[in-house]
Amino acid sequence: MDQKTRDDLLKLFQDKLNEAMKFYLETCTRCGVCTEACHVYASMGQIKYIAAYRHEIVRRIYKKYFKRRGKIWPSVGEARELSEMALEELYEAVYSCTGCRRCMVYCPFGIDTQMIMSIAKLLLIGAHTEPEILTLLTDTSVEKGKSLELFKKGFLTGIKNLEKEVVKKWKIEAGETAIPVDVDGADLLYVALAGAVPAAAIFNAAGENWTLSFFEAVNFGAFVGDPTKTKLILDRIVDEAKRLKVKEVCICECGTAFRVMKQLSGKQPFEVSSITEVHARYLREGRIKVDKSKFREPITYHDPCQIARNGGIIDEPRYILNCLSDDFREMSPEPKYNWCCGGGGGLVALGEDNLDFRMKSAKVKADQAQETGAKILTTACENCHTQLIDLNSHYEMGVEVKFLSSMVADALMQ
């Protein structure tokens, strides 16, 4: 690696070094309490998958270039040069970490691995060695926002087709639009992923004054760890919400999108909620009713890390499930310590390439789900959903993987 590249990369590193980040880098005593925290280590048992080991890879470079002691006596802290090899190590560390922050609840100091890994992600982008597919997806997503007019038409045709489906399945009264788009002054802006059918049915049943966002929720910028693009993708939703003057932005079943929206959007004139919260609210207020006899088999719920541990939505899904079924089975350990599905942090988006790793690293998750004896495994995140389906077939778990919102829609009483 030549000097120029290295300097550029170190500049990126420097930008990341705010007060909190420095604390995270300084404080670790390598006590090893976090050893058991990571599902990858718990499933595969390799040292390199321990959270603190992942930090050390970043920390070595930090010591080398940003600390005097790393310059004077590098070996005492194993300070290491930023080289091609270091980049490879960074890649290994960061694209085997889902950013679930389970390790953070273990650490006596609360060191945030995900945040330290964000340095690594940025360095990889700087060196153009990040997973191409993620950047590709990010850029497509950004492009779409730029040429809104062009893609609006296709979008609206798509919606018309979806509408037919909604009408067919949940007979709504004539004259009503099944999927409203671009409604000025709506109460709630719903940011969806590919399909919006079950969600639409529920909003309509609850008599919500809602409108569908032009944009998809998922933020690939966050997966690849590019702060500028993350912001771009986030901001256009914020702008849309402001333009339509909505009171609430409801994010569909996407953990990353929810957390990015909730924690990075800053102070805005609207509330941010997840679809799970909204559904629980409708049920509590009696705006929708569900049929308990619809699902007779035991149900368990996988807490998506970004929504539960990192987003604080823990009671709501349980409320919904207790409305849906008499046989809801909690996984153990409890939500705060729930195992990650193994698909977060962009790993699922990498697709087939890392299927093998994703399956091996999430063995503990499969075991945890099976121990409940449930036949329906439900969750509230697109990423988790995909990963759980893969796990289901890989480990022959014999469960049915469902979205919580689709279950609510299916059990809806007219």
Binding site: A20, F23, Y24, E26, T27, C28, T29, R30, C31, G32, V33, T35, E36, A37, I47, I50, A52, Y53, E56, K67, R68, R69, S75, V76, G77, E78, M104, V105, Y106, C107, P108, F109, G110, I111, D112
Partner: protein
């Protein structure tokens, strides 16, 4: 409030590694006592002397506990996977501290086993304050009191530790509270 709880009672360690937790608590509490004990040596500042105490709080047990827990920490790091996580710094620190604490408490034991009589606290004070004024001065009473080699080693290692301190991970002592605040939001 919860941040204080997290910082001083280490609930996460207790849950995940109870034995380690016991040693950690013993170690840190003893360390606090130890610092209190050493304050006696800086007797010039009255505020530290509100409660009367001896240098050797706890009759040498503090030192013993510290030595044992330090050994425990050290051996813990020889076992995988902690071994692979540790960097040389961690070992140096522990060894250094162990040596300091070991010789420190030896002084106390030696005093009692061989009946040297009282520690000449006054002279220690003189030595420390002379250091402070950059005029090192050792009174001959000190060097002749029989266990001086232990004292010299103790002071030597202690100084090494103090030099190393701000550059090492033991900075966690100051950072721990803000960090736990950060987590609790």
């Amino acid at each position: 409030m919860w941040a204080l709880h997290d910082t001083f009672l280490l609930p996460t360690v207790r849950r995940h590694n109870p034995i380690f937790w016991v040693f950690l608590m013993l170690f840190h509490i003893s360390f606090l006592l130890l610092i209190t004990g050493h304050l006696e040596l800086i007797g010039d500042f009255r505020i530290f002397q509100i409660a009367q105490h001896e240098v050797f709080l706890g009759k040498g047990f503090v030192g013993l506990i510290l030595s044992i827990s330090l050994l425990f920490f050290l051996f813990r790091r020889f076992v995988s996977p902690n071994r692979d996580l540790s960097v040389p710094e961690d070992y140096y620190l522990l060894i250094l501290l162990f040596l300091t604490v070991f010789f420190g408490s030896q002084m106390d034991w030696a005093r009692r086993w061989y009946d040297y009589g009282n520690l000449p606290i006054v002279e220690y004070r003189e030595y420390l304050s002379s250091l402070l004024y950059l005029k090192p001065h050792l009174s001959s009473d000190l060097t002749s009191s029989g266990h001086s080699f232990m004292l010299v080693l103790h002071v030597f290692f202690a100084n090494l530790f103090l030099m190393f301190f701000p550059f090492s991970q033991v900075m966690h002592s100051f950072l721990s509270l803000p960090m736990n605040k950060l987590r609790r939001g």
